[in-house]
Amino acid sequence: MLFYCFKRLLGMVPVFFGVTLLSFFIIQLAPGKPTDRLTDLNPRITPEARARLEQYYGLDKPIIIQYVAWLSRVVRFDFGTSFSSDARPVLEKIWDRSVPVLDRRLMVTFLINVISFVLIMIVAVPVGVLAAYRPHSWIDRITSVVVFVGFAAPKFWIALLLMMLFSVTLGWFPISGIKSLHYASLSETAQYLDRLRHLALPVFVSACGGIAGISRYLRASMLETLSSDFIVTARAKGLPESTVVFRHALRNALLPIITLLGLSVPGFVAGSVIFETIFGIPGMGQLSYQAIMMRDYPVIMGLLCITALLTMIGNLIADVCYAYSDPRIRMR
């Protein structure tokens, strides 16, 4: 088991280099060249901003030197200071030590995704199991259709419609932000409730997509598992149905789901740019959108590298969990 973890860790190293290469390549895409005509009044980037970029990333130096410099920065998590008017270090913008933990951007996004993940599991697993257990029943058909349609609808569209319905028309949930204006004057329990109320819609919308996908894959996976030999054996042995379904079938059917979850880990830390823009959530997605609009390159690159690295770690954890639950993988 430990050997497996070590192997996977080693396997991460080239991916890490790959990430640094990828981000480095993207930096090279920066518009404008030193030889742009100074009389060009509408370049995509002003010569002054280009000069700043060059100085910052050493774009005028040979490629190898640039890459080594970039690599040393990434390793030290030194992404420099933001180009925007507040000129704070990039890491501070993501993880601002001057505000309470729950307000820090990374934590905000992470919380939303974690809660939505839990919600997905709570809803998708029973739905998937039920649909697989009684294939082609009306429950199965209805959920299939709902899932199919839900998958096809643009998530931001659903978000808009729901916001219209629940926030404006019905007034059940607040419209935007993560806490109310008068948050500081609330009692501690009221504060937590306030935060939860604000998170309700974003979490719900982001969970919708996940529920659709996961329940579908689980259904397929369960169907396959339920028709396999060892289930027949289990039934033949006379085991109660619940044991057959939950202890044997489900455990095996969940394996591909773990892989799927591993693939959705990137979303945990990146934050959905669209949701955060629509709901006004001050998380990673909103930060990246603002940085992109302002061409705040240090922040953009910092976010890219950090999300990539966190994703790699997440994948590693998912792989280890997978290996733990499926001995066949370890033995390979």
């Binding site: 995509r44 569209w157 990146a270 823009t277 953009i300 994703t311 790699m312």
Partner: protein
């Protein structure tokens, strides 16, 4: 061939999906003929009118006919979808074929590259690249294509891994065929089934991505219409112009549904050979 067509027609999912796709493509092609108004024609006396006989989908903030704009938006969305998927497919096939055929260190390096690309969430990667190269429809096509090839690559690699030990390959090699010939003329045609399905599903995903980008203002630039664009206007006028939010959203929904149904239907037909999914 006949048998294939027969099989396809029996699968209801594929038929329904195929019908929708066909309808969409023809609508997009005939947009200039079908559109009752010039999609950019501003009419300040007709601002934000609800759907009516004159304007079946209402008008937008500048009095432009939403129906006409949606027809041209269909062109743009589908064009982005096809081109982006084309790029992604070509890239993915190349990478996957090389990795699957040659194996060993080439495979390792290429698959590590795929893993790297998968490490970054796709919308985020796309937005980052757009921040560097600028917005606009051509850039969007290129970027979506350059970030969606990984699934195809894995697929193709899996196919190649299983196909390269088959007799017909050995026979070709014995006959003196070079690597390139074997890859492109012998193995690839057999692997195309799943690639085709993946491409179809990829169009749906590209359409969704493009509409998301246009919604954020980073995709198709005004005044060119795109479904995502119109939705952006819908967001700003959500209380007084429901038609700006509903119709483009429905259009995206139907398009994606159509392509998904077609893709899934074809996938069912190609089973049990093919189990992998596009990501």
């Amino acid at each position: 061939m006949n048998e294939t067509i027969h099989m396809i027609l029996r699968n209801r999912l594929a038929v329904a999906g195929g019908g929708i796709v066909l309808l969409l493509c023809s609508v997009a092609l005939c947009a200039p003929i079908l559109a009752p108004y010039d999609c950019n024609a501003i009419d300040v006396t007709a601002i934000l009118l609800p759907p009516s006989v004159h304007h079946p989908c209402g008008t937008d903030e500048l009095g432009r006919d939403v129906f006409s704009r949606m027809l041209f938006g269909a062109r743009i969305s589908l064009a982005v979808g096809f081109v982006a998927v084309g790029i992604a497919t070509v890239l993915g096939v190349l990478v996957g074929a090389l990795a699957g055929y040659y194996g060993r260190w080439i495979d390792s390096v290429l698959m590590r590259w795929v893993d790297t690309m998968l490490c970054v969430p796709d919308i985020f990667l796309i937005l980052t690249v757009i921040a560097f190269i600028g917005e606009g429809i051509v850039n969007v096509m290129a970027v979506i294509g350059a970030t969606s090839w990984m699934g195809v690559a894995r697929l193709v690699r899996a196919e190649f891994l299983s196909l390269k030990e088959r007799e017909f390959v050995l026979a070709a090699r014995a006959a003196g065929a070079g690597d390139a010939r074997i890859i492109f003329l012998h193995i690839l045609p057999n692997a195309l089934g799943p690639v085709f399905v993946s491409a179809i599903l990829g169009v749906a995903s590209a359409v969704l991505l493009e509409s998301a980008l246009s919604f954020l203002g980073l995709g198709v630039q005004p005044p060119d219409p795109s479904w995502g664009n119109i939705l952006m206007e819908g967001k700003d006028n959500i209380e007084i112009a429901w038609w700006l939010s509903v119709f483009p959203g429905l259009a995206i929904l139907v398009t994606v549904l159509g392509y998904n149904m077609l893709g899934e239907g074809l996938e069912d037909i190609l089973q049990p050979r093919f189990k992998n999914r596009r990501y």
